[in-house]
Symmetry: D3
Subunit: 315 residues, 6 copies
């Protein structure tokens, strides 16, 4: 939580009337130390098969986000591990605030670096020229859209590395429609945050407010653990960690997950019968009759799932 | 849990009839290696605005303890961080046994050091002269009062560093009226302790009983993590860590927290309306109408809170 | 979870029809790099007072397993700590999947080592000669019996060190009647595993499937943390860690635990009365009347417990 | 060392004839994922009081570099700590290869990120358009000038995070005139590197060649530990760690260090006399005669030092 | 150092007259908990192209050991990394006692496990039947041959995990002709050991003597870090870590290293000329004239090296 | 090194004229938060067989200090390990500045705690009443005597936990006659300190000066790692760690070490002959002739050593 009633935290003063907000959606991308233009974003995400936001960020359709709520890290591993050059998309080692809530959304990336006044002063002056009163965590937070997951590179900082407390966490919950937060850094007000219905993946908790850092990039490529994250990636978190899925693979991951889920269903059903050794059934049955049984089961269930989906969409 | 049925743990034999207990409240302070006299305690806590226990320890009033149950680490940070020379009052990195129960109470400090027989033999002899059969963890535990939080410097020891198991944990719960335990060391019987309704902040768990240590101080200044703790400090723990608040700041912390809580309430209420960017509202609104709205809200809620409190006290 | 639909993980292909399974119960013990014959097992567990499985593994009776569900680490420490040469039977530092479920069963041990193709090729060839299609994790898993706890030395490996995902975890639950899993390594599919009603003690979680390791021993002596585990040991896990109890001490541990539990009951009852200092009651009372009271209480409760047990067995 | 005789390491093939090299000095700044134009560099280092390289990078004069060889971390701390917003310029925790050689030079920064093929393919294509055969570690290394310290953000990667082996380390020694290397990552061939006369600050050593990463920036702002490093910073390393000094403070740091060194000289001289308590002399003497003595000593030595320097320059 | 003058360390008494020693070379392999027969050893090292010791252990020829003194970890990585199933042969993270001395020899493996008296008593009884007074560290040490490197799995134990002090270290130096020691555990007497001219790779140092462990295998397959080590492996250590090379690859590793060393020589020679960018020369030159130059250089130097070797052998 | 030329570090201003120094030797013991009177010191070190300093601290004779320069951690372990209640006298995990110089001296203990202004203000006021201008690190340093080792409990603090830089390190070298420093904290100016001829055992290095701490005890019982250190203990450090030997055991440790050293001499001499297995000679020979040989050797060498010592003393 908690507003510092007498003074804003060092170097993070309060800003910006509603009038500025329209500006925010396009302008800030050029005001920070690290910039990544709309054209850069389009060039580097050229394989994105979906729409884009006005600033060039890939926009995964809502129905795919909805389906992604059933994904686990293993579902995704299966698809991405086979793709040369995409084996670094998984990060773990987080403290997970609501491990029972799936984290799903489009990556909205933010980068901080250790404060260095000569750089920050120039960046703040450039921001001011563009009508932004102050570059700070809220500059980015106020740009969030429904379905966005805020993904923050705070370089693992604990003390003074608290991206939000419970008030701004609450704001993010409202703005993103509960999509979530991933921060390679910390939060404050864990008691307050624990009561708010949005998943969060954090490194630590600390009572200090954010400070001694500078906002250096909004929707630029960032690093989280051993992972390179791009604006617009599909973010999926489960009890193990977080996957950042390039949009061009989202559909394949989801389709393959359908089959995996059906296979899991069938495998457990057979195990529950108590008649088989694990090797009779899993990875795949060797007995041709069981193979056939599974094949039919898979077919039937896939059809059911697809029918349910299309009915749901009609409504 | 669990009593060693055939033999007391090495160097911790069983002692002390009820007759001795009256003695315990005054005498032990002079029997350990490290001593801190009643006069020392009064000198070093001269700023304490409240009553004192007979042994000189500051005694925060019960109604302030009650109010402190709503404090979070951030509430306290706001006040203490501004005070030169009081930035080391927070310790974290604990395993928290009941994170959903607030830890609140008056610090009752205990210090252990690695066993060294020449020193321990002298201390035990001195203790015996004062009518104490044996200096041990229970010597301190039997001095606890309602509202005390037992704060133990066990120098991070895990194996043999278990201040209590579930039996003595149960005793502490009864004696302190569920106030709590902080130990820079370990406990045993986590299964048993988990069923007992008192918060505990510990470093580790181990099946060994306490051993290979010596009790070196009761209600002396101790160190917990990077914090200096004094007997009579207000101890407050939340999901993040523990604050040790010198009594002279307790009232200010609590009054300021009232305002912070109201500000949080109002901020979230405004965010929930969905009409504002975060910067319109938080840290503080720039729009004069919103400023006025908040000012009135704050006034109204402060009055309500105070009214409720005074009514409660009347009852 | 989740079957890799297009290809088996490297070096772990799918095998074995039901016909092979009879073989599995006896043959595999001679096919791995590290072997431990039936005679070895009998020689080294000569003090086992109970029956044995056909392969020589000690078989603790079911009623003792049932009683062991009330044990905590401290109950066991009390007995084993007094036995010269048995102070290394406790391992901790695990992530516990269902901390509220007691882990109890007979140790079924499995050892993996880092893959080295020259050794693995020979071992696989030897296995094939004995009718085993492939040495792999499922080779061991398909040998599990009701009441077995699978204890796996995966040398702390996280990435590629996942002994099972949720499908095989489900199989183990069915095969062992929910007894449990201890792995000095990792699992995958934590979301799936969290929904399955069986306790698990693991070091880490990872989305990768098992790989880059070789199965080197089934029911051989293994090391878990600082502990030497033998096939047939009584495995007991609580919120703190896991004890591996040699069968020759199982009865003594359980009988002594009965007394400890009664002592805990009585101690807390007295504390709840609020009339005593902790030293009046705990470790043991010094007042002869209290000593007598406890003695009678102990006697009465022991008789009750024994009566209940014998009635239960009659049913 | 050692050339992979049969194949280039994955994604790092061999490139670039001498003809390309002229190009390298200007072009690469626009070919990587993260770009920082000449104008950016000039804007953000506007306080640089010295010349610049053709690409805009501040160019500290050689005589200041020479003087900086006497600096220690404490000399620098004294000056930078007093400057608001410049308290993050120190990084430590390195394995230091030649701790007896001072590390001094102008920062040449390089950034790597975890490999992600979609981004790397675009960057490589853009590089090719600019006449660069392949973006790789050698692309940056071949741009080094005498006096440059290569400062590499390899995000702490050990395995596959080896910026160079002994061959390229040798090349850097030749190209930079032994200035040095700082890598938040690893090197290979420590035996070979130990024999080469250039200081290096590394996180780890590993036999793997660089791989599974992509070059994302040359002379862009980077992060090393808790420090933001700019191209052209004065880099100074001693037995403790590395300071990155913004060019605008270099002169002040060096002048102040002269006084500190004289003060150290005088202090130790007085201590060696054995007539004083430490407080008589250090921090500063309270006795007016000693104050006067020191004042004269300082004056005399400063003049000597300046004379020596100006004579040296004349030669 | 240092003999405990009044009593042997717990469970390690003193044994064995010279008459027993002949026995030691063959018998002990069957007396420990974990056994690996001569036939096992031959089966699992069937690809060994060299002679064997009487107990079946592969015996790399002395001239290859001599050549191996020039190997570095990178030389070996180049060859082994290309072999499917041999990527786990490197272990690091050691404290290296004489980093300037190459570690080279044939692996003599020893395994310890945490003491468990029931198992140790049986093993000691079996040993006694075979004429061995006591299984202990010296049982293995007294079997060492010139050229052997003692490789000990002490499961990372520090306290009580000291395989030797300076007296036995001195003995190993004499017995192995200074080949060396690798222990995943500790040593004592580092001051004394530092003065003895033999390389050692250790995890820690401690003043305690070895204790609370049992010798469970001599010349059995063991694990060191993430590596599986076989008796007879070629052990090579440099400033980075230790490689365990299966004998069947020794010749290839050494031949390839010759070429790597020549390539390094030539590369540095060209760099020293100061006329080239690194990419002109390294990995390999693109200019056909330089390619030719290198080709000729390689040929000439290989011939020189071979000539020198054959001359040396003639002498 | 290095004096902060413009301002003393926060809360550590410069003090104390030479006139005060006489006072310092007796007075400060009562001015800090934690006090330990001369009588306390005498009571708790009642077994000290040697002289005492005026403040009650045991004073080991110089000739024993001289002999202690040959001690290693193992020599001491042998004696202390057998004494019930003295198994905690060894601390390790230090960065050792001059590992080739033995650390030997009498413990002069100092304790710091995290700064807390209310306590520090009272302590400073009490100090002032006793004629001490300011309690600070130099207050203790100026009390050091020849042969003292400064042993500082700085609770492991790195940043701001630097007990000295090179100037005060130089002073300590002069004052203690090169005896040494042990700090559970850090130092600054490692480059400068490395050039000063005195051993130091430290936890870390940092460029910050000491700050945010308060001096809480001089010559009081302190804790270093898992060890309780008393003023006047014999401090001995080698390449492994530091032993704190109670004075009552110093003579026994040294006499026993003589025998251990002779045993080591003889053992290595026999090993060097190459005729024996290790078990023939070490721990102790079983062959009666060798037993006799050793017995005579021991006798002869003991006499030589004693003769040399008495001659040395005569001179």
């Amino acid at each position: 939580m908690h507003w510092n009633l007498t003074a804003a935290p060092a170097r993070f003063s309060v800003v910006a009337a509603a009038a500025v907000c329209a500006l925010l959606l396009s302008a800030p991308a050029r005001a920070q130390l690290i910039t990544f233009s709309k054209q850069d974003l389009i060039d580097y995400t050229a394989q994105n098969p979906f729409d884009r936001f006005p600033d060039g960020r890939p926009k995964l359709p809502d129905d795919l986000l909805e389906r992604a709520r059933d994904l686990s890290a293993e579902d995704i591993w299966g698809t991405l591990h086979d793709k040369e050059g995409f084996r670094n998309q998984y990060a773990d080692g987080f403290q997970i605030v609501h491990p029972d809530k799936p984290l799903v959304g489009r990556a909205f990336t933010v980068q901080f670096m250790p404060l260095r006044a000569d750089l920050d002063d120039v960046a703040q002056a450039k921001a001011k020229q563009r009508g932004i009163k102050r570059l700070m965590n809220q500059t980015a937070i106020d740009m969030l859209q429904p379905g966005d997951v805020l993904v923050v590179d705070m370089f693992g900082k604990k003390v003074d590395g608290t991206i939000v407390g419970d008030n701004l966490f609450y704001y993010i919950m409202v703005a993103t429609h509960k999509a979530g937060l991933v921060v390679d850094g910390s939060v404050r007000d864990l008691d307050g945050i624990s009561e708010i219905d949005m998943p969060a993946y954090i490194r630590a908790v600390d009572p200090t407010p954010i400070g001694n850092v500078m906002l250096t990039g909004i929707n630029v490529p960032i690093r989280i653990g051993g992972t390179t994250v791009m604006p617009g990636d599909l973010v999926v978190g489960d009890r193990e960690g977080v996957y950042f899925i390039p949009p061009q693979f989202a559909k394949e991951v989801l389709d393959r997950a359908d089959e995996i889920h059906i296979h899991d269903e069938w495998t457990k059903k057979k195990f529950a019968e108590g008649k088989y050794k694990s090797q009779d059934i899993y990875g795949s049955p060797s007995d041709p009759r069981l193979q056939q049984e599974y094949k039919e089961y898979l077919q039937k269930r896939l059809e059911e799932i697809r029918r349910q989906r299309s009915e749901k969409e009609k409504r």
